[in-house]
Subunit: 327 residues, 6 copies
C-alpha cells in the first residue's frame, strides 16, 4: 500500500529543442507532465511509495503517459483508461531574457477533463494510505473534475489521511471568482496549503504584511494547519534564485535561497510540494520545507517536468556541497 | 489570380522518427498535411498558381501551418484565423511488414471543424479562378464543413469553374449512410471525381466489372464528366506498385505501374489528383492521368505529406529515366 | 502474483544510428535488452503479468535498466541491486547485404555474472506463479549463474510451475562441451524447450531428418514435453522470412512463414518464446506456436530488443490483415 | 503593394549544433540569413508588408532560400533566379567566453555578386512602395552590386520613397578607402543612416564626443535626416547588454539597455533597423528607436538570423513585463 | 614510405538526413569524399599504406578534410594548404524508386582547382612508392589540374611506379571532346585503366561486342596493361546488383554479382579500384578484381563515401558467409 | 621524431546530450578522453609533434579511439592493440547549479589496465624525443601500470628528456596511502610537477601558506624543478574563473584569471599542462604558465575532453581580444 496518493491530469508535453520557437519546430521533444504526478515523482525520489490517480485515453499516447509514470516508479493501478476524450497536450517554448518562456495548452476535451465523481473508487484507493495530494488545477478542468476533487479531499480527510492542496491558480483555465469559490470549498478539508501571497489575495482577499500573517488567516478562516510557499526571484530567464517559506504550529520558517542555473524550470513548485509532504509524513514541517526547497532547486537542472533527482543529491545540496564535478 | 483553389483542413502531423512507435517516442518529427493542401502543392509543382482555403487557430501552431503552406508557394490569402478551436493534429507510426503503418487522429474541435457557411466569401475567392478542388474529408468533419463544401462546390460550378472531388471515404469520421447521402448531394456539382471502386460500391452501391463500368454509372447518375482512380498493390510496406486508371469522354485510360520504394506514402493519392487536374486545365485528361500517376509515384519518395517534387523529375519518370544517381 | 517469472541478464545496448559503424559513431542510441526480459515483455503484451528477476549495479545505468523494464509493465520487485560488478553492455552495428549485422559484447564482470545461488529467494519469488522461463545464456555467464539457473529450474519444476528453456547457444560465451554438459543437466527440469536443430546436434548429438524427430529424442532422453523452434530464411539483411515449427504430445505443428521487413531483428526469437508460453498457459501448444510466430514476426518491425506490439496487432497478423496504412 | 522593399544577398547559413567547432561537425544546422532579409522579416513582424529583392541560383539551394523567405511572409516576386553563380554560404561557430563566436564566409561567386544594374526593374519594383532599405554589405560584394545599389537608392529617393542605409562595414569584403568612397556616394540619397561611431570615423573621418555630434555631421555633410545606432556591451559571450541611440530633427534619443541572454546574436542589428523604419513609416523616429531596441534585444533569443518575434512580445518588452513563464 | 599515392580533390559532402530533400533540410550530415581519397581509404583497409595528395584551403573546413583523412589512416604529409580558393562542396540527395539520388556540386573556385604544376614535388612524393592512382575527375577540374595530372602520371610511370586511371567521365565538368583529348594524353602513362564501355565509346570511339574486346583496343592503342570495370544493375534505388569484369594479359575475368542493400552507394567504384590495385601490388590481377568487387559491394552498406570496411569482412564476403547477425 | 610523448589510458566517453541525466538518456554522445591524450592534443595545437602511447582492445571501440587521436594529429605508432581486456568507458552527466556534474567510470578490466612493464619499448619510443608526460591516473590503474609508469619516467629522465607529472589524485581509483607512496617514488624523476595544494597536503603532508612555499618543499624533498597549478573558482556550474600559478627557479608566477562560460569543463587542467610543457620546451616557464592558462580557459568552450583550439585563438586571449563575434 502506497504512502501517498495524488490526483490530477498528466499531459504529453511537446517542446521544440534548442530554444527553437514553435513556428521553427521541425521536431518536438516529448515529455510528460502534470502537477500532481510531478509531486508524486518527487516523493518517490525521497523514498515514499506513491500512486498517481487520473484518467487517460485508451490509445498509444495515453499508454505512454502511464508507462512513463511507471518507469519512474509511480504506481498507476487506479489510472482509468477511457475511450472518451483525448490526451491532454501542452506545447512549451523555452525563453531567454528579455523573452519569458511560454506555454500553449491544448488540453480541452481530455479524458481526464471528461471524468466525474464515481469514476474513482476513493475508499479502495485510500486503503492504507497516509496522505492525499491535489492542486488547484484539477478542479479547474471541468465541473466533473471539481466535484471529484471535493469528493476525494473529503474522503481522504474524513478517512484520516493528511491532505495537501497546492493552489496553483491558472487564469487561462478559470476566472478568479469561480476559482475562489471552488477552492474555498476545498480548504476546510486541507491540512497543508501551498500558496503564494498573490493567490491568497486575489482568490480569497487575504492580505498580510508577510507570509506568516497570510498563513495565520488561512488557519483561522479554513483551519489549514500548515502553509508553505516558494520564493522565486527572476532576474534572468536562465538564472533564478529559489527558496521557500512556511508557517506551521505558530512558527514561521524560511530556507536559504539557492542560486539556480535553469535547464528546465517546470515542475519546481511541484517538487517543492513533495519535500514538504515528505517532511510532514515524518511529522517535521521544517524538515519538509528544507527538503522541498532543495528538491525544487535541483528540479531546475533536469529536463522535463519530473524531479529526477536522487536523495543523496538533495542531501548534498542541504549540506552545502560545492559545484566541482564529482568524480 | 490563382488557377486553382482547394478547400480543406490542414493538420500538424507528429511522427516518431526511425520507425519508433508512439510509446517509444522521445521526439516527434513535425510536418503538415491535409488532402486539399497536398493537392495544392502538387499543382504548384506542376506550374499552377493555387490558393488553399481553410481555417486555423490564431496561435503559433496555426501560424506555422500557414507559414509552411506559404513556404512551398501556396497562396494563403483567404485562410481564416480563428480564436475558436484548436489546431488539428495527427500522429503517425510508420510500419514494416507484417505491420501496417497507422494514424491516430486528434482533430476533434479544430478551428476548421468549427467553421461554417459564411465564413468564406466564395465569390471573392473564386474571382478569376479556373478550378476548385475538395475531398470527401471536408464534409465529414462537421455539419458546418459539409454545408460549406456544398456552398463552395455550387458556387464554383455555377461560376464556370471546373470542379473536382476526391471521395476519400474515412470510416473513422462518419458512417457510410451519412457519407453516401452527403457526398451524393455534392456529386451533381462535380466535373472530376476521384474514387476507388470500393468506395463507389459501399457509398453509392455502384458496382461494375471494371473501372470503366463504374465510371459510366457515375456519369449517368450524377453527370460526372471524368472519373479517375489510383491502382495500388501492397505486397510489402516499404515497396508498393502504383499506377492509375481513368475514364473520360467515353474512353478508358490506364498508366504504367511504377515500382515505388516508400519513404512516406502519405499524400500520394492527393498528388495524383494534382496531376489529373493539371491535365484537365490543359484540356487533356489522359495527360493528367499520366502526370498524376508519375507525381503520385514520386510522392512516395519524399518525407511528409507534400509532393515536393520538381516538374523535370515528373517528366523524367514519364520518360522512363533510369535509377542511377544523377551527377 | 505474476503469471510468469523469467531470469537472466539485461544489458544496456548501444547502437550507432542510421547504419553508422561503431568507428563512425558520434552518438549511440540507448536501448535495453536481454533474452529473458524480452520474453517477459512479450508475455505482458499478450496479457500476462510477469516478473523479471536479475541483478544490476546500484548506479544510474542499473537503475535505468530497471526503470525501462518497469516502463513496459514488467515487475522488478526481486531484481537485486549490487555494489559489485558493472552494468553489462553490448554494442550493435546494423548491417545491409552483403554485410551482416554484428554485436560486440562488453558484459564481463557484470553484477549479474557475479551473482550466485542464494542471491535469489526462489520459493518466495515463485509463490503463486505458474511458469518459469530462462535461456541458455544465463548459465553461460558464470559458474554462479549456472548454479542459480539449475537451482531455479529445480525449484520451479518441483514447485509445480511450468518451465521453459530457450537453448540459445552462444559460442562467444562458452564451449560446446561445457554448454552441452551444463544445459543437459537443466533439461530434465524443463517442460518446454526452444531449440534449433543445429544446437540439438552440436550440443547433444541429436540428429533427425526433421524437426519432429529431433523433438522426439529430446522427449525420450530428457522428458521434455514440448519442443519448438523458429524458421528463419535470410536472403537479405533487411528482409527475412520468419515462421515456426513445434512438436508436442506426439504432433508436429508449423506456422505460415511471414515476409518481414526488418527494422530491428534482435529479440524476435525471444518474442516467439513468449507466444509459445502464452499458449501453454492456456493449455494450447498450437495456439502458442502461432502467436509466437506472429509476435516474433512483428518484433522485427520495432526498434530495440523488446516486442512492443499490441495484442490486437498480433491478432491482425494472425487474421491475415493487409499492409495498407490503418487510418 | 508592399510598404517596404529591401535589397541584398541572402545566404544559406551552416552552423554546427551544440557549440561544436567546424572541425568537430558531423552535421550543420541550416538557416538562412542576410542583413536586408533580416530587416524585412522584422518589418513583417511589426505588421508591414515587405518585398525582398535579390538574386539566387536556380537550384535547390537557391529555391530553399526563396521558400524560407516566403515562409515568414516576405514577398519574393522580384527575386531573380539565375543559372550563373552559386548560392552564397556562411559557416558559423558559436562562442563562449573567452572565445568569441566566428564566421567563415563562402560567398564568392554567388549569383547575387554576379548581378548588375539592369537586372532589377526598380521603377516596377518601387511602384506604390513607401520605403527602401539596403546595407553597406550589398555594394561591397562586387562592382555590379555597388552600381545596382546606387541605381536603386537614387530611383527610390527620386521616386519619393524614404530610404535607409545600414553602414555595416565588413573589412573582409573591402578596404576602408573603397568602402568610404562608395558608401559616401550613396549617402546623399539616404534618409535614415544606421551607423556606429567607429564606422563613422574610419570610413568618413567623422569624429564627435558623442553620438549626436557624429549624427549632426552626417546631416551636415550628406543631408541625412535620421541617424541611429545600437549600443552593445559584451562582458560575456552568452550575455550582453543591448540598447540604442539616435538623432533626428535636432534631438538626441536613447533607449533603456536590455540585459540579453543570447541564443543567437546574429541579426540583432538588422532587427533594430526594422524597428527604426517601422517608426519612421509612422513618422515617429523615437518610437522607431524604442521598437528597434526591443526587437533587437528579443532577436538574441531566437535561433537563426531572422527576428521571429511577435508584435505583442515586442510590446511586452517595451512595457517592462517580467521574466516569469507565461501560462 | 607509403605503398601507394593518390591525387585528387576531396570535398566536404553535405546531405540532408532521412531522405529529406535539400529544400526540406534543416540540417546536413557532413562527410568527406573524393574519388582518389576513397580509393586510398580502401587500400588502407586492405592493409596498404597510402598517401593522399591534394590541396585544401587553410581554414577549418580544409583542416577538417585533412583531419578526417588522417582519422582513417591515410597519410596527408604532402597536402597543400592554400590561402587561395575555397573548399569544394557537394550536396547529396538520397533517392528512392522511381526517383534517382542526385548530386549538386559546388566546387568551382576550390583551392584544388586553383592548383597547378609545380605545386607538388612529385619526385619527393614518389620516393619509395610503388603505385600512383588518379581519376579522370582531377584533370577535368582546371587546366592547372590537367597539367598536374599529366606531370604526375609521367613522373610516376617514368619512375617505375605502377599507375592507374579511373576514367570517371563527368559531363558536368567538361565536354566529351576535351575529355577525350586530355585523357587520351594520359593513357600512354597508365598501367591499369578502370573504365566503362560507355565511356570507352563516347570518349575514344572504342566499341566492342564485349568488355574484353574493348580492353584489347585500349591495350593496342595506348599500351594499357590491365582494364577493369564494374557491373552494376539498378532495378531499384535501394537494391542493386554489383560485380566486376576485367582483362589482363590476354585473359578475361569476371566476378560473382553481389546483391546489395544500399545505405550509401557513393564511392563503390572507388572502393573497387582499391581492390584491383591491391591485387596488382601482389601481382595478381584476378585477385584484385575479386577483392575489388567484394570491397565495392560492401561499400554500399557504409554511410559516407569512404569504404570503412575491415579486411576480414571482405574475406567473409569472398567466402560466401551468410547474412545472419554475427554474435 | 616527435617533440613529446605522453602515456596513459584513453577511454570512450558517453554523455547524454542536452543536460539529460543518464536515466533519461535515449542516446549518448560519443567522445574520447584521457588526461595524457588531452595534453598531447594541446601540444599539437600549440605546434608540437606528439606521440601518445597506450593500449587499446583490438576491436572497433579501440580502433575508434586510435582513429580519433590520429584525426587530431597525435601520433599513435606505439599504441598497443591487445586481444585482452576491454575498452575503458566513462559516462558523464552535465550539471547545473546547484547540482554539480558527475562522472561514472566503467574502466575496470581495460586493455590498458592489463598492460605491464615490457609492453612498451621505451628506448625506441623515446628516440629523439624531448619531453615525456604522464599523470597520476596512470599508476593508479593497476600494479602493472604503476610499474610501467616508473619504468617510463626513469627511462625518460635518464635519457635526458624533460619529464612532467600531473598528480591528478583520484580517490575512486586508489587510497591516499598507496597513492602517496607510489607517486612519491615517481617524483625524483620528474622535472615539472602539476599539483594542487590540496593534493600536496593529503598525499605528501606538504603544507604551506601559499603555492610558492608548497612548491619549494617539492623542490627540496624530490628535486622537482618546476611546480604549477590551476586556480579555479566555481561560483556556478556554467561559469567559472580560471587561472594558474607556478614556481620555478626561485620565482613565483601567476596569470590573470579568465571568466569562462562552460560548454565542457573536462580536460581544462590537461590543456593547462600542455601550455606549461610548451613553454618549457622553449625554456620559458612563465610563458608556459600563461599559454597554459589561456589554453585551459579556452578548453572550457569546446565540447569533449580535447582542447580543439587554434594557436591564434590562444594568442588572441593572451592579447586580451574582446568577445564580439569575429567576421
Amino acid at each position: 500500500m502506497p504512502d501517498v496518493v495524488s490526483f490530477g491530469e498528466v499531459m504529453v508535453r511537446l517542446a521544440p529543442p534548442l530554444f527553437r520557437r514553435i513556428e521553427q519546430a521541425r521536431s518536438f521533444d516529448v515529455e510528460i507532465g502534470g502537477a500532481e504526478l510531478n509531486t508524486a515523482v518527487g516523493l518517490v525520489r525521497l523514498g515514499r511509495s506513491v500512486e498517481w490517480v487520473g484518467a487517460l485515453p485508451a490509445n498509444p499516447l495515453g499508454e505512454s503517459v502511464r508507462n512513463r509514470a511507471r518507469e519512474v516508479g509511480v504506481g498507476t493501478t487506479h489510472v482509468k483508461f477511457s475511450t472518451e476524450g483525448r490526451c491532454g497536450l501542452y506545447f512549451l517554448e523555452f525563453g531567454a531574457a528579455p523573452r519569458a518562456g511560454s506555454i500553449l495548452y491544448d488540453r480541452a476535451g481530455s479524458s481526464f477533463a471528461l471524468s466525474k465523481p464515481g469514476d474513482f473508487d476513493w475508499p479502495a484507493i485510500f486503503a492504507g494510505v497516509r496522505w492525499f495530494h491535489v492542486t488547484g488545477i484539477t478542479p479547474a478542468l471541468s465541473a466533473g473534475c471539481a466535484a471529484s476533487t471535493l469528493e476525494a479531499l473529503k474522503a481522504a480527510h474524513d478517512g484520516g489521511l493528511g491532505t495537501s492542496l497546492d493552489l496553483n491558480y491558472r487564469s487561462k483555465l478559470w476566472g478568479i471568482a469561480e476559482a475562489g469559490r471552488t477552492l474555498g470549498e476545498l480548504l476546510p478539508h486541507v491540512d497543508l496549503l501551498i500558496a503564494s501571497t498573490a493567490d491568497a489575495e486575489q482568490l480569497f482577499g487575504i492580505v498580510g504584511s508577510n507570509f506568516a500573517e497570510v498563513a495565520k488567516q488561512f488557519h483561522g478562516r479554513f483551519g489549514v494547519q500548515h502553509v508553505a510557499g516558494v520564493v522565486r526571484e527572476t532576474p534572468l530567464v536562465w538564472r533564478n534564485r529559489f527558496g521557500a517559506v512556511g508557517y506551521s504550529a505558530g512558527a514561521f520558517h524560511e530556507t536559504v535561497t539557492y542560486e539556480v542555473e535553469i535547464v528546465d524550470r517546470l515542475g519546481a513548485g511541484d517538487a517543492f510540494a513533495a519535500g514538504v509532504i515528505h517532511g510532514l509524513l515524518d511529522g517535521d514541517f521544517a524538515k519538509g520545507l528544507h527538503y522541498g526547497a532543495a528538491l525544487g532547486a535541483l528540479k531546475h537542472t533536469v529536463p522535463g517536468d519530473l524531479p529526477l533527482v536522487a536523495l543523496d543529491e538533495v542531501e548534498a545540496v542541504l549540506a552545502g556541497q560545492g559545484l566541482r564535478i564529482r568524480r
